[in-house]
């Protein structure tokens, strides 16, 4: 009996180890790769790298225009995508839950979430750059990114709105408040931490997007910081793409350093999202 039990245990153990390895190996590979990037990029990382313009000489090249471009893109995207996304979410959750129009929008958003990001780039090129004559500008890039993250903003905002207990709305209605007053004074303040966290995560996704910006026409060699929303622009990932595509080894080092800057930026954003959520939640309860 005992030996039989042990025999049947052995394959189970082996399978456990195999399955655990399937989870851990990709993580270890990722950790190894990230360490490699850090090691590779460390010789270029420094204040100079952050405050210099791109150059033909890899050891002089810096990432300032990319950093500035990404920053402006993010601010503009937040200004465009957040009101639209939160508004759409309120419409779906608080107003038209069962209407046919709302259901259609819902299905449509689910579909949009699955559209490849490069197709949004084509939309941006055809619509914003050509038809609306924004040109290959910061504004065109930000509009494109806004449409790209819109489905995600709507989804996270809806989730946040759903966490607001129904009885609070009922209490508000019972006191004679209108629907909009209830949304504005009861529902939104309560859902605020969730919406904010989700919005930051969506923006951190937008900052890593490369393909749509390439199609919209972000430039790879820019020696100035954009001075308006109609200025040509570049972004962190575009600059990295440019460096990684060059044969000289020096530019690969620049690319690695650029990746470290990009990942750190995302890490800060994600950390801020988690911090804000925890703090606001504590305040709320």
């Amino acid at each position: 009996m005992n030996t039989q039990q042990q025999r049947s245990r052995a394959p189970e153990r082996a399978f456990y180890v195999l399955a655990l390895a399937a989870v851990i190996i990709p993580l270890l590979v990722l950790a190894g790769l990230l360490y490699g990037v850090l090691e590779n990029g460390s010789e270029r990382l420094g204040w100079d790298f952050l405050t210099s313009y791109p150059s033909r000489k890899p050891t002089l090249a810096g990432i300032l225009p990319g950093l500035a471009g990404s920053f402006f893109l993010m601010v503009l995207t937040a200004l465009i995508a957040l009101p639209l996304g939160v508004g759409a979410a309120i419409h779906l959750e608080e107003y038209g839950k069962r209407s046919r129009f709302a259901r259609f929008i819902e299905l449509n958003i689910a579909n949009l979430a699955g559209v490849p990001s490069i197709v949004y780039g084509l939309l941006g090129l055809g619509l914003f750059v050509r038809t609306l004559h924004f040109g290959r500008s910061l504004l065109a890039g930000a509009c494109t990114l806004s449409l790209l993250v819109l489905p995600m903003v709507v989804m996270v905002s809806r989730e946040a709105l759903r966490t607001v207990p129904q009885h609070l709305r009922e209490a508000s209605y019972a006191l004679g408040a209108t629907r909009w007053a209830t949304v504005r004074q009861i529902v939104l303040p309560m859902a605020y931490p969730g919406i904010l966290t989700g919005a930051i995560l969506a923006l951190s996704r937008a900052i890593g997007e490369t393909a749509p910006l390439v199609v919209v026409g972000a430039l790879t060699y820019i020696t100035f910081v954009p001075d308006g929303i109609d200025a040509p622009f570049t972004a962190l990932p575009i600059q990295i793409f440019n460096w990684v595509s060059r044969p000289q080894r020096g530019f690969v080092v620049d690319a690695a350093a650029g990746i470290v800057v990009l990942l750190l930026t995302m890490l800060v954003l994600n950390g801020a999202a988690i911090y804000l959520r925890n703090r606001l939640q504590q305040k709320g309860t």
Binding site: I90, H91, V214
Partner: protein, 313 residues
């Protein structure tokens, strides 16, 4: 029922108020219209995508024709001798995506099984967000890995591997889509009713046979849906293949040579200086249309599969 009554109440209140004052308060109506307008933007986005793709593709088809797109084995729109056969780009896309799925399916499914069936709550809580990290890394970073790290490493094993190839791009892409399969397949496995497992145990089956012969088959629909969705993501993925797989449209299924995917072609043209209205400019919208249709079909198919799994229970 109670909840729905409660929700309809302000409507009644508004209606009564409207009857007294003649109309609902302006701010109330304005808010409603504005919020609906926000929802409409998402529909306009879809319409925008469809019309931009359709207009430029139509221009292309009028000039070149559908025949040349389908019955030609070469894709050379940027050369003097122009051919517009989309097959080399299609095979390039399918090839890299297949390599990615071959990597991601075993890893993702085993991860899902581990987290749903084998792991203790503590392991699970630790590993799940860690796995999500893999999906959160920007694709440009994965592209760098594929070109700078994975390709040279693979060249040590496969000497005839070219500097740009479908193999390393596909492998790295597989890493990226693993968490997607893991997370969706885990949901499917987790949804398998407990009594099925208990019935298998009662019949004397061990843990591993129960997983493979009861739980996994019962969750098949959801697992298939996760794989199709991951495949759709791989087909639309751009930067990894643009950096590491090459820019040579080639009708081949050999993963060792440079190829070009549909997405990489769009990037290649976008990086150059192609004026609007030219045939070259239109080709990227034709390729984009094909890409959009492929991913749309896969997404719908995957959605249907999940619905069918969740539906009848």
């Amino acid at each position: 029922m109670r909840a729905s009554n409660a929700i309809s109440m302000p409507h009644t209140a508004q209606r009564i108020e409207a009857k007294i004052h003649g109309t609902a308060p302006f701010s109330e109506r304005a808010a409603e219209v504005l919020l609906a307008a926000c929802g409409t933007v998402t529909i306009l986005t879809t319409l925008g995508i469809l019309s931009v793709l359709a207009v430029e593709s139509f221009g292309f088809l009028r000039e070149v024709g559908l025949f040349a797109l389908i019955f030609d084995a070469q894709w050379t729109p940027l050369f003097a001798d122009k051919h517009f056969g989309i097959w080399p780009l299609l095979t390039g896309t399918v090839l890299t995506s297949l390599v990615a799925i071959i990597v991601a399916l075993p890893l993702g499914l085993l991860s899902a099984i581990f987290m749903s069936e084998l792991a203790s709550a503590r392991w699970r809580k630790l590993l799940k967000p860690a796995l999500e990290l893999l999906a959160g890394v920007p694709t440009i970073v994965y592209g760098y890995f594929a070109l700078v790290v994975v390709t040279p490493a693979l060249q040590a094993i496969v000497p005839e591997l070219s500097g740009f190839n479908a193999l390393s791009a596909g492998i790295v892409m597989g890493m990226m889509i693993t968490p997607m399969i893991a997370s969706l397949a885990e949901d499917a496995l987790y949804a398998v009713p407990r009594h099925l497992r208990e019935a298998a145990y009662a019949l004397g089956a061990g843990k591993v046979p129960t997983i493979w012969r009861v739980v996994v088959p019962a969750a098949f629909g959801g697992i298939a849906a996760s794989v199709i969705l991951a495949m759709s993501r791989a087909v639309g993925e751009t930067m990894i293949v643009a950096i590491a797989a090459g820019q040579e449209p080639r009708l081949t299924l050999d993963p060792r040579v440079p190829i070009e995917t549909m997405t990489a072609y769009i990037v290649q043209v976008s990086m150059g200086d192609t004026p609007a209205g030219t045939l070259e400019y239109r080709t990227i919208f034709v390729v984009g249309s094909a890409l959009f249709l492929m991913t749309l079909v896969m997404n719908i198919f995957s959605y249907r599969l999940t619905r069918r799994v969740e539906g009848p229970r």
